[in-house]
């Protein structure tokens, strides 16, 4: 049983007790504890259950690599699943629940999976649940869903905020252990801008626990001095609780700062995402200890030797009274000494090596600790959920028990693997060490920047330097190399260090080496996903050779810890099974983030009212106050219609159309694109952009035009107004303004750079108001100012002047078929003019209308709409717009493409009007059915609906569509499919349904 020791704990403050809850049980810890330490201090050894077999699990590590001790943290909107107890700082009022238990942590129904584990080998799901198909949906999937899955989803309504921070530095150093500090100390002597990040809440990494001496002082003292120096350096920024999560191309890196996780509810953002541009990056990310693969190594109470040492030294927590240490290296002996120093008992050190005679084993022997070399653990004995003993056997044998040793905790060490993740993110390659049996960075195959130069370096243990003085020297040298590349001169130095000498380790991938299949099926590689030595061997036996395939087949390393503990052990076992050297097997791909980061921090400010920029016209507020039912148009919000209380959308649209056609309507057209094109070559330029002729347009006149891309397809349409000899104002669709402006600049800057044309996007300079209907002229005359009579301003003309004492430009254009004026006014005056128009129009029952009324009225007139009649595959000829395609012009964008045989084919579907026989509204997107089926057994088609509405003016459904040989088939009745499988009949008619001669707009 674990408990709090009466003394010790370098990170905790015993004067500051903290209360928290775990699974509803009240517990006590100290400030400075992490949750795992506090749980152990309260005797809570079992912290969660595994993914597949629901086996009870205790904490195995003490840091970011923890696979077992995952909890759901917080409550309500702050609930968050899959939080590692080892990286969760304890705070007063913390509440946590264990995960993946059903119904409780102590008793779990799913644990029956464990007794069935021999029936659930690698690839089981793939093999078993494929057939019969129906059983998957109704039987297997519901069961698997219930028994699998870690954690519950978080709740909506997160009350916290998150933000981003963009920083630009010369040198980014990830990791604030002694290597990172030494690299920063080296850089601090220059004037390079340095950012040093540490993922934990304290600096210095493992060195204080491991007890090295640097420059003649204890590591802790050296770290304190280093921090003082760095804090005083003006060019160094230090940030703790900030994990370097990923390295990307071009010196880009992301870091994840947990600002207030340790004090929820405090002011400021909860997490901050650092988006860093660095000239050079040094990763001083340390190393992770590997478990040993022996039968029962997943039992609660078995943990990494370094973790057990951390709990004692950092938190004053005893993971057990009698500890067995099992190892293949000297480092684990430090744990034995730490146990002994804390007054607890080391039952035995089981060393798989034939001999262990280095200074650390010697120190243990001198301290009276029993050391058994050439031995292994054959099995772990439990009583209930408590660890009671281990069976000892010979490492060389098959596992015959030589002796049983009573204990309540096991500290295991299979050696150390450098954290090469960040080095590898952008292409750094690895080498295999035959001394330390781990992968380490290959300094000759480094991540390269845009010039092919190195921009990521490792420092310290992350480089594979295992001894303290080598760590410090390597860090300093890496810093110098990075600084020199940045153009700073610096000098490396190697502080003296003692206390880190170790004897050679031995590779031990399976314990004992001749273990039976039964034993191997209890040797865990991936603790979270329940992948065992037997699963990886089975995968190899079934023909899996690639480590990437084996990973996916067995789920090795696919859990939330992403194989931090299991990776090397797993691929060593795979290599063994494939009988090939480990470097030949290689590693799986290291991808960011290093550990999971919150979804909130990725969104940053992109949430709530700043989720995305909503573009608002000057009259937006008025619309909102007057019943606007919004529709997104690009990033604009436009009123779809204005509903009165109790009115349906359909009723509102009908009312808006009727009032407009009968008397007077009003539309906010401010979102229309307005691009000024000016210069001596402006006419020539527009002749190239538009399919029709624009250069012949007279000042004061307007002309409708079509723009195609170079493939001949319609892109945009609108009215061009010629302002003077050199200047045109091009109107684009609302959604197309930015794109069309970019399109123009693209051609001007890249192709026709010598043409004298400038453009400016003036879309937002003007509010634009369409006044539409038989009473439109009367209204403008009532506002007073410029002459808008038929004589002064004919259809398709424009003029500058004043209305209601405001400076305006009036265009007499119509998209509705009615007498219509569009009035442009400076945006800051837009609302003022709108309100004056509404007031003056009261006598004609002026009715603001939305986009749907606009659409219906244009459809009644047979006007096309970009995005309805066009979809990127439609050319003007399809829409019978040949009249708008100049025959005289030598060239325009799309001309050549439109001459291609397929484009010129008479078989292309062409625009027609469609009227249902029964007067109903055709379904949007419906297809015109043809006889027979195609080679895929699908019904043949001969056309499709592009726009379809109920016309309140005509009291029936109207539609436009593209139909094979359509214009030649007037009066023919076609069948259109409906979603329910039936069909509806519609007659092919002229697309102009209303006022065919245009008398209404020409008054």
């Amino acid at each position: 049983m674990s408990t709090r020791l009466s003394t010790g704990g370098r990170l905790i403050d015993r004067a500051k007790p903290v209360s928290f809850q775990f699974n509803g049980r009240k517990m006590q810890g100290f400030q400075g504890d992490n949750l795992a330490a506090a749980l152990l201090a309260n005797g809570q050894v079992v912290m969660g259950r595994s993914f597949k077999y629901h086996r009870p699990r205790g904490v195995v590590a003490s840091g970011a690599e923890e696979p077992n001790a995952l909890v759901g943290l917080g409550e309500g909107g702050r609930f968050e699943p899959n939080q590692r107890a080892t990286t969760t700082e304890l705070f007063d009022g913390l509440t946590a629940i264990s995960q993946n238990h059903w119904p409780s942590l102590d008793f779990d129904v799913g644990a029956v999976n464990s007794s069935l584990s021999r029936f659930l080998p690698a690839g089981f799901y793939y093999k078993t649940f494929i057939h019969p198909r129906a059983a998957w949906k109704h039987l297997f999937e519901p069961f698997i869903r219930k028994s699998a899955g870690l954690g519950k989803p978080s709740n909506p309504g997160d009350p916290d905020t998150y933000e981003h921070a963009y920083v630009h530095v010369d040198l980014l150093i990830v990791g604030g252990g002694i290597a990172g500090l030494q690299a920063a100390l080296t850089a601090a002597k220059t004037d390079a801008k340095v950012l040093l990040l540490e993922q934990e809440a304290h600096w210095g990494g493992r060195a204080p626990v491991d007890g090295a001496e640097i420059d003649g002082v204890a590591a802790e003292e050296w770290i304190k001095n280093a921090l003082q120096t760095l804090e005083a350096a003006p060019n160094v920024t230090l940030r703790k609780r900030c994990m370097g999560s990923g390295v990307y191309d071009h010196g880009y890196a992301l870091a994840y700062e947990r600002c207030t996780d340790h004090m929820p509810g405090a002011a400021g953002p909860r997490h901050r995402l650092w988006r860093i541009r660095a000239g050079q990056i040094i990763t001083a990310t340390g190393a992770l200890e590997r478990p040993l693969s022996f039968s029962g190594n997943d039992r609660p109470g078995v943990m990494l030797a370094s973790a057990l040492r951390d709990y004692i030294v950092n938190y004053g927590v005893s993971p057990g009274d009698r500890v067995v240490v099992v190892t293949n290296n000297d480092d684990a002996y430090r744990t034995a000494l730490a146990v002994k120093d804390s007054g607890l008992t080391v039952a035995c050190i089981i060393d798989a090596r034939a001999s262990a005679d280095g200074p650390l084993p010697q120190a243990c022997r001198d301290a009276g600790i029993r050391v058994e070399t050439g031995k292994a653990i054959a099995g772990v004995g439990m009583k209930g959920k408590a660890l009671k003993f281990v069976d000892i056997c010979a490492q060389a044998g098959e596992g015959s028990v030589l002796e049983t040793v009573g204990c309540d905790a096991v500290a295991m060490s299979g050696g150390w693997s450098p954290v090469v993740h960040l080095w590898s993110h952008c292409g750094g390659k690895l080498l295999w060490s035959e001394d330390n049996f781990h992968f380490y960075p290959d300094v000759t195959r480094f991540p390269t920047d845009h010039k092919g130069a190195q921009y990521v370096r490792t420092a310290g243990i992350a480089s594979g330097a295992m001894l303290t003085h080598e760590v410090l020297g390597n860090a300093s040298e890496s810093a110098v190399a990075a600084l020199e590349q940045l153009g700073h001169s610096a000098e490396a130095w190697r502080p003296s260090a003692t206390g880190s000498e170790e004897g050679a380790m031995a590779p031990v991938w399976v314990m004992p080496q001749g273990a039976s299949k039964a034993k191997k099926s209890k040797m865990w590689l991936d603790f979270q996903n329940d992948v065992k030595v037997s699963d990886v061997e089975l995968a190899a036996q079934e023909g899996y050779q690639s480590v990437e395939h084996t990973k996916r087949y067995t789920t090795l390393g696919m859990a939330t810890d992403q194989g931090k503990l299991s990776n090397i052990n797993g691929l060593a076992v795979l290599s063994g099974a494939l009988n090939q050297p480990i470097p030949q097997t290689g590693t799986t791909t290291f991808r960011p983030p290093y550990t999971p980061i919150s979804m909130g921090v990725i969104a940053g400010p992109g949430t709530g009212k700043t989720f995305q920029p909503l573009r608002k016209t000057p009259m937006h507020g008025w619309h909102e106050a007057n019943g606007a039912d919004w529709e997104p148009v690009g990033q604009w919000r436009r009123p779809y219609c204005y509903t009165k209380s109790g009115e349906s959308r359909e009723a509102a649209v009908s009312r808006e159309i009727r009032n407009t056609r009968d008397s007077l309507g009003l539309l906010d057209a401010s979102t229309l694109g307005k691009i000024l094109v000016t210069g001596p070559d402006a006419g020539k330029f527009l002749d190239m952009l538009y399919t029709n002729m624009m250069s012949t347009l007279k000042p004061g006149k307007c002309r409708y035009g079509l723009m195609c891309n170079e493939n001949g397809f319609l892109m945009d349409d609108g009215v061009v107004a010629r302002l003077d000899e050199n200047s045109f104002l091009v109107h684009t669709t609302s959604g197309g303004a930015d794109h069309m402006h970019a399109h123009m600049e693209d051609w001007l800057q890249c192709e026709w750079w010598d043409w004298k044309v400038y453009t400016a996007n003036l879309t937002e300079q003007y509010a634009q108001i369409a006044v539409v209907g038989p009473n439109a002229r009367k209204l403008l005359e009532k506002l007073g100012g410029m002459d808008v009579s038929k004589e002064a301003m004919a259809f398709m003309e424009h003029a500058d002047g004043e209305l209601a004492e405001l400076p305006v430009r009036v265009y007499r254009i119509s998209f509705s078929g009615e007498l219509s004026y569009e009035i442009a006014v400076p945006a800051n005056r837009g609302l003022e003019l709108w309100e004056k128009i509404v007031e003056a129009g009261a006598e004609w029952n002026i009715t603001p209308y939305g986009t749907e009324a606009l659409h219906v009225m244009r459809a009644e007139k047979g006007f096309i709409m970009i995005g309805d009649e066009t979809d990127g595959t439609v050319i003007p000829q399809d829409l019978n717009l040949s009249w708008a395609i100049s025959k005289k012009k030598e060239d325009f964008l799309g001309k050549r493409a439109q001459a291609r045989s397929h484009m010129a084919s008479a078989e292309r579907w062409k625009l027609v009007g469609l009227e249902t026989i029964d007067g109903s509204v055709l379904p949007d997107g419906a297809y015109a059915l043809a006889e027979g089926t195609n080679e895929n057994g699908q019904r043949n088609t001969q056309g499709r609906v592009t726009s379809t509405y109920h016309s309140p003016t005509l009291g029936r459904g109207i539609a436009m569509g593209l139909v094979l040989h359509g214009p030649d088939r007037m009066g023919e009745v076609l069948k259109f499919n409906k979603v329910d499988g039936s069909a509806v009949e519609a007659k092919i008619v002229d697309p102009v349904f209303y006022d065919k001669d245009g008398e209404k707009q020409n008054v």
């Binding site: 905020t161 933000e163 981003h164 921070a165 963009y166 920083v167 630009h168 801008k193 920024t237 002011a267 400021g268 953002p269 901050r272 988006r275 541009r277 400010p605 992109g606 709530g608 009212k609 700043t610 995305q612 920029p613 909503l614 573009r615 608002k616 016209t617 000057p618 990033q635 604009w636 000024l676 000016t678 210069g679 001596p680 004298k756 400038y758 453009t759 400016a760 003036l762 879309t763 937002e764 300079q765 003007y766 004492e805 405001l806 400076p807 400076p826 945006a827 800051n828 005056r829 609302l831 003022e832």
Partner: protein, 185 residues
């Protein structure tokens, strides 16, 4: 004629940086060969020519370098039409574009000692004093939209964005202020 109505109607948010709608300002886009523009700039807004990425003067009378063939001129809102005519007259016979964009923009004033820190939450550009000295006119992004800004001093800056997204930019800035300083400059 009543006063022009800016997009966020004089809103103010106070925090470690104060964000203020600065109302309507006269702004003119002038495109042409920079070598030919000095006289027109002088005539229109009384300012000298800015060098690359710099602003001469400021709101109410100034000129900012916007691209290799574009300047943004500043004057009082009421003077924009007059200034535009002066520029046009001065450049007669040249190839140029001049347009009133006063109403297409929104202007915010930032006040406080943490301006660089605040902008660094929203803008990907390097905002350090070396990269963004006072009077450097930076065209970049704030959040998801285009914006331009310059620092007049460590305590005052001007931000310009498009009018339609002014409420978004105001919300973005004030939410970022709420988060408190990062402490990186």
């Amino acid at each position: 004629m009543s006063d022009p109505r800016s997009a966020v109607g004089g809103a103010v948010y106070e925090g470690y940086v104060t964000v203020k709608d600065s109302g309507a300002h006269g702004m003119i886009t002038l495109r042409g060969d920079h070598a030919e523009l000095a006289e027109a700039v002088k005539a229109a807004v009384g300012s000298g020519m800015p060098t690359q990425r710099r602003i001469e003067g400021g709101l109410g009378g100034g000129a900012a370098w916007a691209s290799p063939d574009e300047l943004l001129l500043f004057c009082d809102y009421a003077d924009a039409a007059g200034a535009l005519e002066k520029a046009r007259k001065s450049l007669e016979g040249n190839h140029f574009l001049v347009a009133d964009v006063s109403d297409a923009r929104a202007v915010f004033a930032l006040e406080g000692s943490g301006i660089r820190d605040l902008l660094a939450k929203l803008c990907p550009a390097d905002l350090s004093p070396e990269a963004l000295p006072h009077g450097e006119f930076r065209r970049s992004h704030l959040g998801q939209v285009a914006a331009a800004f310059w620092l007049e001093s460590e305590e005052t800056a001007t931000v310009i964005c498009f009018r339609s997204v002014a409420p978004y930019v105001y919300d973005l800035l004030s939410e970022a202020v709420k988060g408190g300083p990062i402490g990186i400059f």
